[in-house]
């Protein structure tokens, strides 16, 4: 139940950012001055935690999505539900923690 809710929530959050990201990238057609001003905004301490949250949502949604596919298409998938759920959380944290470290490091150096 919670993985189902987190899948929906993370999916909607990533879609929301996708809309914003299409708009911010479109500013490239207005030249370097405007685009670089926007790009600087993403480096601010306000946006960094949101970037980290986005990374978590993308990684979680990816591997939970793969788990859903395994359960759907592998006849023994449902049998290993609990193990697969733990694997999703394990892989997510394994990738997310170092990624978050790299993303947050510029704030401290």
């Amino acid at each position: 139940m919670w993985s189902w809710l987190l899948h929906r929530g993370s999916g909607l959050a990533v879609l929301g950012f996708l809309f914003l990201h299409i708009l911010d990238t479109s500013l490239i057609t207005f030249g370097p001055k405007i685009y670089n001003k926007m790009a600087k905004l993403y480096e601010s301490p306000v946006f960094r935690p949101l970037e980290v949250a986005l990374m978590f949502f993308v990684i979680y949604h990816s591997f939970n999505g793969l788990r859903i596919m395994v359960v759907d298409f592998w006849s023994k998938g449902a049998q290993y539900q609990v193990l697969l759920g733990k694997a999703v959380m394990g892989i997510t944290l394994l990738l997310f923690v170092p990624a978050a470290f790299f993303m947050l490091r510029p704030l401290f150096i």
């Binding site: 996708l18 299409i22 685009y35």
Partner: protein, 138 residues
């Protein structure tokens, strides 16, 4: 390996009687999802983690990246698949929570319109961007 309809039927109550279209929407989410795992995690790793992360992204970085055919194609595929996958996901969420016909149709129409507009903007930018035509660019 079981057929698509067979696998789908396993997961949904028969009274929900999925139409053929709904089965293919369900299948599309898995195919596009599988492609997006690679495209999007690759994008996130390149843009946010390695090589300096978002700090190095500026006009010149994008201009150099979109100088070639490969990254424009990569980014456009990401745009198209992410919008279709995300838009279809949001449609399913709307269908689950809004049972009143009027509001549901209104929200779905809005979602389709927004998705189409953003797809058009994104495609236009990726196809037409030319750094040499910019004031102070290229």
């Amino acid at each position: 390996m079981a057929g698509v309809e067979e696998v789908y039927a396993k997961h949904f109550q028969p009274e929900r009687s999925p139409t053929g279209w709904e089965v293919w929407s369900w299948f599309f989410m898995r195919i596009s999802g599988l492609l997006l795992v690679f495209l999007l995690l690759g994008h996130m790793a390149i843009m946010h983690v390695f090589g300096g992360g978002v700090d190095r992204i500026d006009f010149d970085f994008v201009a150099a990246r979109w100088d070639g055919f490969f990254w424009r194609t990569y980014d456009w595929m990401l745009l198209a698949l992410a919008l279709l996958h995300g838009g279809n996901g949001a449609r399913i969420v709307i269908e689950d929570y809004f049972r009143k016909d009027g509001l549901r149709v209104f929200l779905k129409a809005g979602l389709y319109a927004v998705t189409f507009i953003f797809f058009t903007i994104g495609t236009f930018v990726i196809l037409t961007f030319d750094a040499s035509q910019m004031p102070g660019g290229g």
